[in-house]
């Protein structure tokens, strides 16, 4: 979830950028997750499209997200190559769990059991 507080002394652009960075680092926004379009996020948060576009450009420059042409912007895998591969695999597993309508607790338990085996 992203929150923009107009009364905060931190400029909206910086509030947005910091929250994205924090969520990518913590894994809340997993590798491969698609971000909203610039226009959509600007409308949702009541910001100018240029503010969101600038934020996306800086996040891309810093390696947090990647733009895949007309398909939109996606969260990049973070860390060394092995960690990046693991994040891509985790994303695929999470998508499949969502498709099957299974619970997060069950999914985590199966991963833990598979890792212990």
């Amino acid at each position: 979830m992203l929150t923009i507080d107009p009364k905060s002394p931190v400029p909206p652009f910086e509030q947005l950028r910091l929250q994205f960075v924090e969520q990518v680092r913590s894994g809340e926004l997993a590798a491969g997750a698609k971000l909203p379009t610039v226009r959509r996020l600007a409308d949702d948060l009541g910001l100018a499209p240029n503010t969101v576009a600038r934020c996306y450009r800086e996040l891309e420059r810093d390696g947090f997200i990647e733009t895949r042409g007309r398909n939109g912007s996606f969260v990049s895998a973070q860390g060394d190559p092995a960690a990046q591969q693991a994040q891509v695999a985790a994303r695929a597993y999470a998508d499949r769990i969502k498709q099957l309508g299974l619970s997060t607790d069950d999914a985590l338990a199966w991963v833990a059991a598979a890792l212990r085996a």
Partner: protein, 298 residues
């Protein structure tokens, strides 16, 4: 049209008018939104009761207006165009199908025209990830609508190419159900994407959750038209071909469609498709997440 079909038409029209009238009653708005919250197992903060009740009623009113207009128009055209000896069950099904299409059209118009806003000095919250129609509708509804309409079109092609138009009246019935099924599916595909692409200005997580709830409800109303018309076309088509030709295979296929329909209804009930979006978009939602804007911003 015979007496039975007129009765169905008048009943649907009067019910639509009653729903339009009810949508203006504040007590009913409150009752509806609280009942919806109970069905979804979502908490509704008291400061959102009024606005969410009004949005729910606006959508219901638009759907009822659409149903009333389509029922009146279809009844008048069928009474004027259709021969008196036509199968009365076919005409009745066409009028019910028109009501579903009307609900879909009305709901789409209301959902696309709706707008919400947040005071400029208030904190704003937004989802960090993108969403799609598949996040709001369970596969049994989303894929089901596409499958039954595709099945209806295939049946129409098969009947056109391989049978000797066994009975012109039944052929007209299958054709109409299939054409309106395809049109309502196109309406659903276009309108649902536009609804999901609309912005969601929200001052708190609770507002965002409830905006999703209203969206999910509108999309479910929209998908009902192609689902119902596709199922009608398949059921009516298989049974009438079996009747006309004494074809056991088609009778069996009609039975399979009926059993599949029952199974889908049970799956839908058991898996609670109406709260699918909560599990998909808000899997870790806690009541503390749906506090008001100031708490969210803190």
């Amino acid at each position: 049209m015979d007496g039975g079909t007129w009765f169905i038409s008048i009943l649907l029209f009067v019910t639509s008018l009653a729903l339009i009238a009810l949508s203006f009653v504040p007590y009913y708005a409150r009752y509806s939104v609280l009942r919806y919250a109970q069905r979804l197992e979502l908490r509704l903060p008291s400061h959102l009761e009024g606005v969410m009740g009004r949005r729910l009623m606006a959508r219901m009113r638009a759907g009822a207006i659409g149903a009333a207009v389509f029922v009146a128009a279809s009844s008048a055209s069928l009474a004027w165009l259709v021969e008196p000896d036509i199968r009365s069950n076919l005409v009745g099904l066409l009028v019910i199908g028109a009501a579903f299409v009307g609900i879909g059209v009305g709901t789409a118009v209301a959902a696309l025209a709706a707008s919400s806003s947040v005071a400029p000095d208030q904190p704003r919250v937004a989802r960090a990830g993108a969403v799609a129609v598949k996040d709001y509708l369970a596969p049994v509804e989303l894929v089901g609508a596409r499958v039954v309409v595709a099945g209806a079109v295939l049946l129409l092609v098969w009947v056109t190419v391989f049978t000797s138009r066994y009975a012109s009246v039944d052929y007209v019935g299958i054709t109409m159900f299939s054409i309106f099924g395809v049109l309502s599916l196109v309406l659903f595909e276009v309108a649902s994407r536009r609804i999901v692409d609309q912005s969601q200005p929200a001052g708190s997580t609770a507002e965002l959750v409830w905006d999703d709830a209203i969206r999910a409800s509108a999309l479910r109303d929209l998908v009902t038209a192609p689902l119902a018309l596709g199922v009608y076309s398949l059921l009516f088509g298989f049974v009438s071909v079996a009747d006309a030709n004494g074809d056991v295979v088609f009778g069996l296929l009609g039975g399979i469609v009926f059993v599949t329909l029952l199974a889908a209804a049970i799956v839908s009930r058991v898996t609670r498709t109406q709260s699918y979006f909560v599990r998909r978009l808000w899997p870790d939602l806690r009541w503390s997440d749906t506090a008001d804007a100031t708490t969210d911003a803190a």
